[in-house]
Symmetry: C2
């Protein structure tokens, strides 16, 4: 499958054969020279998203004013339905675009713990899960009579299904894991882990932040109960664009989230005395949605949908395999180590490299117009976003990294860590 | 003070003498003919806000990409400081722009209940408080071992300080009220009520949704503990723009909000194993802020700051008094009743009229290019936003209402209620 992706391959030839190559021109950018390898953190702006934002501000808000709500009121569920159909493998009415990932995780995990039988007070997660997941779950456990069981995960290889299976027991209310590890990019086996947790009677909540738009997700087919995810990485909806949540249809009326906001109220504008939560996915809304943000998500999902997640995944795997070949040839001899699974099919959209000088190398890369991100303790994440990254980005980006290390150029940068984002 | 604001006064003359008249031209609008009297629900777009949104999307996101976070990370507290100084009378570091009003109310009210002594489990609010406040507080009470005590408020006159005083006792953890009633526009006496509640040892949380940008707010001077508010009404930051929260400096480290998201973590990007909440206002953040939204708030606050809340209030009171004079002359004889305090100084930025045909009249008004909003049971709210509404809006708007009722034009519209926003 990857035999042509060798270090001597001509990136221009590879780009010419790329069936998704035309999508690159749909993205706004400053300069072609910048090698942007951080779409795993913040995706580039599709022009369609910029247009959607402008449509909301300069037309809908300006001209329709309050009457805009006649349509905006449906936006969070409409954008959710698009995400459901085109990105995460869910049915209409199972996904809602709202709030941040952290807030959504709180709502769903707290609701799941509340709804669990008395003997099930444990939430299981792993120590390599994204920090906000671990913190939010710890808060829920402490505050809502639960207990957090944190299993150990190898930070290069990702979550181990056997360790998970052992930890999820009759006392477990909820298992919460990331589908794709934020650090290593390792993909967890959603189907097998969900099935195993269900055998123990636990509910399962997947964090899709690093998988939505990057790898195929089949929530319904995997029997997943709950999920949350963000839209500003591979979905390219913009900095801090609203997140999404998924609740399997059969579970919706059995769960009650802790923030009884008016957007989750039946007959919201009757403004009645009692809180009567809606009986659909709107039950998991809270306050007024950011209209600009949700419209951006809707437009962003449409771009991904046109490319198709299957095609995006195929290209993403190829970009990763090509990067891995270049790493082996150029970077391994310079002290870099692979900090991701060796098999490209076991990785999401990014490849992580460890190097004892990672912090300084990352700064030197930025100065040379290659944008990665740094993660503790000594990792550089290189994200390959198949909508706009090509083989030339991979080749040129890794070539500059090799230069920076070979030449000692990185030594000019401070070793002391500044702000990391 | 209002003697010149009589029904025969010439609105053009009044507009000509308006010191804030020039602000109207800073707002984007479709047509001068539209009489927009719903700024109490969704403000019109200042061009400066449209520009700020475009700057974030088309410049910062497009060109700086992930590096935009070097500055964006400070945006929620920077916009909060501007709100603190120019709108709500607070010190730097006491206000944060984040999430929705409902989510912020949940965070602060839950934190206050958690921090209260054991014998204080009651949250006091009133039955005329905005629905999301009542629902959120009911959820907190039910889920966190509290009790909600709902006092009765006259829906035309606003909250009665004596009733509040009686309800806030030694068992009370928190009093939560709206500063300006969403329905009647009645202003509550923040200073007196806060002082009285403090004498009982309760903390006080004010909802500023209908006061921020419309009436002077002096949180610090009134000794207020906690507050939340929205930015899309009189502050004009756009549909669903992020809300704000205020926590008095001395209280910040004594409170711990329930959603332990990574944006509230000390040394956030170290991504360490334990949750260690920040010791400043950032402690009350949760997830990734909507950058576009927060930038819109910052730009919107700057417009309000240039006009000055005192000047805005003066004009707002005058617009309301003028409307009241026209109401008495034209509308009272047509079956309208005042559903707001009679004294213009006791009202916020809107005037509420009751009429048994309010629903149909509201529809007829929209059809005639006058935009109010409808609220149960039979009310039309007329909002006068002093940044862009003038005396001509009031005169022409109320004149059209009188026409609609006199001519029976409203009878063409369905009595059955459709969507209300």
């Amino acid at each position: 499958m990857f035999s042509e992706l060798h270090p001597e391959a001509d990136p221009a030839t590879l780009d010419a054969a790329d069936p998704l190559a035309s999508f690159r021109s749909e993205f706004a950018h400053d300069t072609e020279d910048l090698i942007y390898l951080d779409g795993n953190s913040l995706g580039r702006p599709p022009r369609a998203v910029l247009d959607a934002v402008r449509r909301v501000t300069d037309e809908e808000w300006t001209n329709r004013l309050i009457r805009g709500w006649d349509e905006w009121i449906e936006l969070p569920s409409r954008a959710g339905d698009a995400l459901a159909a085109d990105v995460v493998g869910a049915r209409p009415g199972e996904v809602l675009v709202c709030d941040s990932t952290s807030v959504n995780l709180y709502k769903l995990a707290a609701a799941a713990l509340d709804a669990a039988p008395k003997g099930r007070r444990v939430i299981v997660t792993d120590d390599d899960n994204f920090p906000t997941d671990r913190y939010i779950l710890a808060g829920i456990a402490e505050r809502h009579g639960g207990e957090l069981r944190v299993i150990h995960t190898d930070i290069d290889e990702g979550v181990d299904p056997k360790t998970v299976a052992k930890a999820v027991k009759k006392d477990t209310a909820l298992l919460c894991l990331s589908h794709v590890s934020y650090r290593s990019g390792a993909i967890a086996d959603m189907a097998a882990i969900t099935e195993r947790a269900h055998k123990s009677g636990a509910k399962v909540l997947w964090d899709l932040c690093h998988s939505a738009g990057a790898v195929p997700v089949e929530l319904d087919a995997c029997g997943v109960d709950l999920a949350v995810g963000c839209t500003y990485k591979y979905l390219n909806a913009g900095p801090g664009a609203p997140a999404f949540l998924y609740v399997r249809e059969e579970l919706q009326t059995r769960l009650r989230q802790p923030m009884w906001g008016w957007f989750s109220q039946t007959d919201q504008f009757a403004m009645g005395p009692e809180y009567l939560p809606r009986e659909d996915i709107g039950r998991f809304a809270v306050g007024t949605p950011t209209v600009v943000g949700v419209a951006a998500v809707e437009a962003a999902v449409a771009v991904t949908a046109r490319a198709g997640v299957a095609a995006l995944r195929e290209k993403s795997v190829r970009l990763g395999a090509y990067a891995q070949a270049l790493f082996a040839e150029w970077l391994a001899p310079l002290g870099f180590e692979l900090a991701s699974p060796d098999d490209p099919l076991r990785r999401g959209g990014h490849l992580t490299l460890a190097h004892k000088e990672a912090w300084r190398i990352g700064q030197a890369m930025r100065a040379r117009g290659v944008i990665p991100d740094y993660r503790e303790p000594d990792r550089l994440r290189l994200g390959f976003a198949p909508l706009y990254n090509g083989y030339r980005d991979v080749h040129e980006g890794l070539s500059r990294v090799a230069d920076i290390v070979r030449s000692g150029e990185y030594e000019k940068f401070p070793a002391e860590k500044g702000q990391v984002t």
